[in-house]
Chain length 218, copies 2
DNA sequence: CTTAGCTTAGTGATAATGTCACCGACAAAA
DNA sequence: TTTTGTCGGTGACATTATCACTAAGCTAAG
């Protein structure tokens, strides 16, 4: 199966370039929880994610952590790209959140594709642009938004079709870059208002409307 | 005078591409304090900064603001690039901190250069990479570092050869994404310890060594 | 089944940071 | 010289972070 079909942004790639790209890349599988890159672990090729998701977070010296964004299927991992192109060191870490499949693209092939295909260029620059937007949003939120608003938003984001959030307080704290105790206390407050029901490792949303209202209140 | 000489990363550009680039770009002058791009103000071309500096900051709905990074001479402004390439809307704002000169590059010329020159590609990707690193650092600092440490660092960064910092408390607050009162109180504490002398619009560093020591303390 | 050991969550005390409302000091312009 | 706007100071209070500890729930080994 041709992995490029997963990348709708590359639909318009010319047949010969498409063939060339497939020929020169390799599909790799990586098990869940693998550290793809991080401090002291340089990626060895550029990754285009075919299935699964990768969580990218920033680590602090003090052991705290904040989730920056996620790479989903059909997106390229711009940190592996940037890391290989610009020889910069990053302090961020990328971890496979699920078992993943990715196309591994050598530097030289990447460079050739950028040179030869306007579609490929557009895809790459769009990816960069999207990530930068994500980072801007993270900055705005941690700098200016109240933690209860951010938590309400995150609960809605992480909830499944049954309004369940399978996450420990610590995981939620990491998502928002705060401390576990802060999350525990906020969840107690939400529970007191009957917006959620908290149990070990699971948060049940009872009143998602109320949470939505809070998360929207600037 | 050939503006490309200001961009050492483009030294290796081939003579014909260099000539082409100069021919197809326009050098523009922009006075200090001009808003180059921002919410509701899209840039109309990509900018390569020849002289001066541009301050890029993120605005919040509540009127607060945080400085994300600066573009200096010899660097390209990747937000104008990203904005024109990816049609994304950004909430960040770019302001000329000084009178500036910049090379204005049309989209089509940019695309052609990326296609035809490996050196140009490298320059562009390096710029992107550098900015992302800057944003990572900002996130780490606002999420995990104490404000006194960040302020000490910023004072050292902004001080001139006479250990003077020409900035109001409000400006320092914006640099760090915090409130003026917080800065006022921290400066009072620094002054109490005889590390600085504060007067209207000016901070004099009396003991930069002590400030350095604080800013280095994890 | 029971208990030991680990993970997860709860709590009080205190520190650090942010917010609000206001005041006074200073400086440039009228 | 008066007015006006910018800048900085302050108290009261709210929010968030940190620290040290306890307790509760889950799992697996004895």
């Amino acid at each position: 199966m041709d992995w490029i079909t997963q990348f709708s942004a590359l639909d318009d790639l010319s047949p010969d370039l498409r063939a060339k790209l497939i020929l020169q890349t390799q599909v790799v599988s990586v098990p869940k929880d693998t550290v793809i890159f991080g401090p002291g672990k340089k990626p060895d090729s550029m990754m285009f994610l075919i299935s699964g998701s990768v969580r990218v977070s920033q680590l602090s010296e003090t052991g705290r952590e904040i989730v920056l964004y996620r790479i989903n299927a059909g997106q390229s991992c711009f940190l592996t790209t940037a890391s290989l192109l610009a020889y910069e060191e990053y302090t961020a870490e990328g971890v496979a959140e699920t078992d993943i499949k990715a196309a591994s693209i050598p530097r030289s092939v990447f460079d050739a594709m950028v040179s030869q295909s306007a579609e490929f260029r557009h895809f790459i620059f769009s990816t960069y642009s999207k990530r930068i937007t994500d980072l801007f949003i993270v900055i705005e939120e941690i700098a200016f938004k109240r933690i209860d608003i951010r938590l309400a938003y995150k609960l809605l984001e992480l909830s499944d079709e049954n309004d369940l959030v399978a996450a420990t307080h610590q995981v939620l704290a990491t998502e928002l870059g705060t401390a576990r105790e802060v999350i525990s206390r906020q969840l107690q407050e939400f529970q007191r208002r009957s917006w959620i029901k908290a149990s070990r490792g699971i948060v049940t949303l009872i009143d998602p409307i109320a949470l939505k209202k809070l998360s929207d209140s600037e």
